[in-house]
Amino acid sequence: MPHPSESAPGPAFRVEIDQNPHLPLGAREVHAVVGVTSETPVAAGDAVRANQVVVVDTSGSMYGQKINAAKRAARAAVETLRDGVRFAVVAGHREAQMIYPSRPALVEVDDRTRAEAYEAIGRLRADGGTRMGAWLKRAASLFEGADGPRHTILLTDGQNNESRAEFTETLESLAGTFVCDCRGVGTDWRVEDLRLIDEALLGGGPGLIADPDDLVEDFRAMARTSMGKSVADVALRLWTPQNAVVRYVKQVAPTVQELTARAVERVPQAGDYPTGSWGAESRDYHVCVEVPPGDPGRQMRAGWVRVVLPGGDGAEDRVLASGNILAEWTADEERSTGIDPRVAHYTGQAELAEAIQEGLAARRDGDEDTATTRLGRAVALAHESGDEETTRLLSRVVDVVDAGTGTVRLRSQVDKVDEMTLDTNSTRTVRTRARREPPGPDGTP
């Protein structure tokens, strides 16, 4: 087992901060968008340290075309895994049943295990209930002690048959311990179930697969992305001054994910927010910190953001990149009133996601006034930010009278797929144009 030595090229991360540090006198709230970019080379050969669990819903409702498509998709996912990756296939019904291997453990991918897995997947039968919490607990136990990125693909077609309290409790206990990407096939599943899993397990946003035949390509793509992740358990560490309050920490790109409650204090005065595994990619976070107001002209480090690889077994944490969120109080209104364009953009994107979810929920509950208002707001926000994809999806749920003002009428007939696609995709955000170049080596602009 090779140990990463001091000289080994480590993961390369970059932090960029976008904000207007100037605050009016007496102001407390500091906003910033923290861009984190990983330029980590993809590991290959001996360096492969990845763990993959594929969970396929085999409840009774999967019977027929769906279970057959799911089998092909699971096979495609296994096919995509590189040799040396440790993996398992689990069938999910009222319990989590080991399909391959038959004992509850991960096995290394090679020609023999691949062939055995295909054979086992071929024997899947649709029967039983839907217990996503139980499936995820199984995945967690399989990952126990595993080294490197831990990824699960979860496929379902139905509603979770666990009480909300039990399900939430399970997710709370598993939060951040591995990464899970969820897919719903058909339209009988509940977007909220998968969104909860996605939030707790740092997925890339739940996905809706309307046509079971599209599963194969989707699974292959997910497995490929997962293989690209080479750094696991990366945490975003946010230090704040004493007497400061972290209002929120949200991932805002590529998807909106609330992280505020996930903070763990591993060093004094700082919270570690789990971000899961990273390949070569870039994510943005919106951070809002409330600090005690300072005298005019004083400059404060209102937040110190560090990308940290926590050291296990008493080893030192490794700080991979860092940046400062600053605050500077000024009586000059011209300077203090400007909102950073990136902060403004993501504030809008987060509100857009919220408006869509609330609008659709109100529509389901028969509250047409709220639905019209919120979906109208969503149309206006999507229009404003030039988010064409969301605009297109919204126009299938509401008739847009005036996109600029957000004047809409609810459609009486809405295809379930369109509604669910809009709901599912609501947390995906569009990015602003590329950042200015080049950032400083420590990430400070």
Partner: protein, 451 residues
């Protein structure tokens, strides 16, 4: 004897713990879905017992433990938080206590004070703070021992925190560099000098020196100087520093040798003027500054001020029976000259763009200086406030100056900070320097005189 659960709606069989019936979709009532462990076959959550040994609750609990802080990995300095910069900010208004105010003064600090001929950065205050830790009491910001009283470059200027990358680890404030913000603190007088909000460097300087207890004459007498670099001259920051230091040093030296404060002031101004003239490359490129000094006699309570230029000395008091606030200096400025000549009213003169133009200063190009010296013996309690125009521009009238910070004599350091804070809030257009000397001179430190 496995209990069979059925849906009350469609009579389909349901599993323990199910939230709804998979047959008809009906939400199941609590008594049906409640998961009482069955005698055999199923463990908690419906997981077969055979499997749960491997991946059930036992392993789950260890999964849950991930990400928790490792024991001993971090400490929370709970219960011992100190006043934060927010409080510092508040304190500008309220005159409340801040860290250094609340510290008892110890003998080591007295010695440092007595020797102080130049502004002491807050670093040194922090090092003094180390020495006042009661034995056995461990402060959350206790420093490692062995650092002695050396100024600690890693100590925060605003709070007891440590500095990383120029920012405090506790309060987060960017640290002042060099002279941006300087505090001088002695058992009696204290001063604060700040760059302000508009200038790129602090060209003001101050120096406070006490005549030591062992001196032949005038033990405890306070000698303070404030200088404001003339911004149109080169290296005016250097000019003000050397002038203030020379002035205060000579004052204390002369007083200790028995000179009358007026004579000492004249000598100090001459020597200070020589010192600043000496740093000029040529008369056409002469660093220059203003000068205002105060000698507050610890024995007689007399106040002797000397000045050149437009830095001022005020008598401030708001105590019944004490002398009313007064301006003890008269500016060597165009505006004052116009007023004295009867050409303009004070308001008209101050509105002019020439208002602050100096007609006298210290520097190689100043020619013969007309040193003003004046002595008063005010009835206290009160305080002498020496300041640059960065402060008095906002509180020109003696009544305003005294009213801005009530009971300045009670806590000179807090008062100096309050004055600077007020000037910053008012716009901070210039460098701001304030030295507050209580009268009568307090010999036991600012805390010794009950408020």
């Amino acid at each position: 004897m496995t209990k069979v659960r059925t849906c009350p709606g469609c009579a389909d069989r349901v599993n323990a713990g199910d939230a709804f019936c998979e047959g008809c979709g009906r939400t199941l009532p609590d008594e049906v879905r409640r998961a009482t462990p069955e005698p055999e076959g199923l463990g908690r959550n419906g997981i077969p017992l055979g499997a749960s040994r491997e991946d059930g609750d036992t392993t789950l609990s260890s999964v849950t433990a991930r990400g928790r802080p490792e024991e001993g990995d971090w400490t929370t300095p709970s219960g011992a938080r100190w006043d934060r910069p927010s409080d510092h900010g508040e304190h500008v208004h309220t005159g409340g206590t801040s860290l250094t105010d609340s510290l008892a003064v110890d003998s080591e600090w007295d010695q440092i004070d007595a020797l102080a001929t130049q502004p002491v950065r807050r670093d040194a205050v922090n090092s003094a703070e180390r020495t006042v830790q009661p034995a056995g009491a461990v402060s959350p910001w206790a420093r490692p021992s062995g650092e002695g009283a050396d100024p600690d470059p890693q100590a925060c200027a605003w709070c007891p925190g440590r500095v990383t990358d120029g920012y405090c680890d506790d309060c987060g404030y960017l640290q002042p560099t060099g002279r941006d913000h300087v505090v001088v603190r002695t058992v009696s007088a204290s001063g604060v000098s700040d760059i302000g909000l508009r200038h790129r460097r602090n060209e003001d300087a101050m120096a406070v020196r006490l005549v030591p207890d062992g001196a032949g004459y005038g033990a405890g007498t306070v000698c303070a100087v404030v200088c404001d670099g003339v911004s149109s001259s080169p290296r005016s920051d250097e000019a003000s520093r050397i002038t203030a230091e020379t002035g205060a040093a000579v004052l204390a030296e002369r007083v200790a040798e028995g000179d009358d404060p007026r004579k000492a002031t004249g000598e100090a101004m001459t020597r200070a003027a020589e010192a600043v003239a000496a740093i000029a490359d040529s008369p056409s490129s002469a660093p220059a500054c203003t000068f205002v000094s105060a000698v507050v006699d610890a024995g007689t309570g007399s106040v002797t001020v000397g000045w050149v230029g437009d830095s001022r000395a005020y008598w401030v008091s708001d105590t019944e029976g004490a002398d009313a606030p007064a301006l003890l200096t008269r500016d060597d400025s165009w505006a004052e000259a116009m007023v004295q000549a009867g050409a303009l009213t004070r308001e008209e003169a101050m509105r002019s763009t020439h208002a602050h133009a100096l007609i006298a200063w210290m520097g190689a190009d100043s020619g013969e200086i007309d040193a003003h010296v004046s002595t008063v013996t005010p009835t206290g309690p009160g305080a002498v406030v020496l300041c640059s125009d960065g402060l008095w521009n906002y509180y020109a009238e003696p009544g305003e100056m005294a009213g801005a910070v009530p009971r300045a004599d009670a806590d000179p350091l807090a008062a100096a900070r309050d004055y600077v804070g007020l000037a910053l809030r008012a716009g901070g257009k210039d460098n701001i320097t304030v030295v507050v000397v209580p009268v009568p001179v307090s010999r036991g430190g600012p805390r010794a005189a009950p408020v």
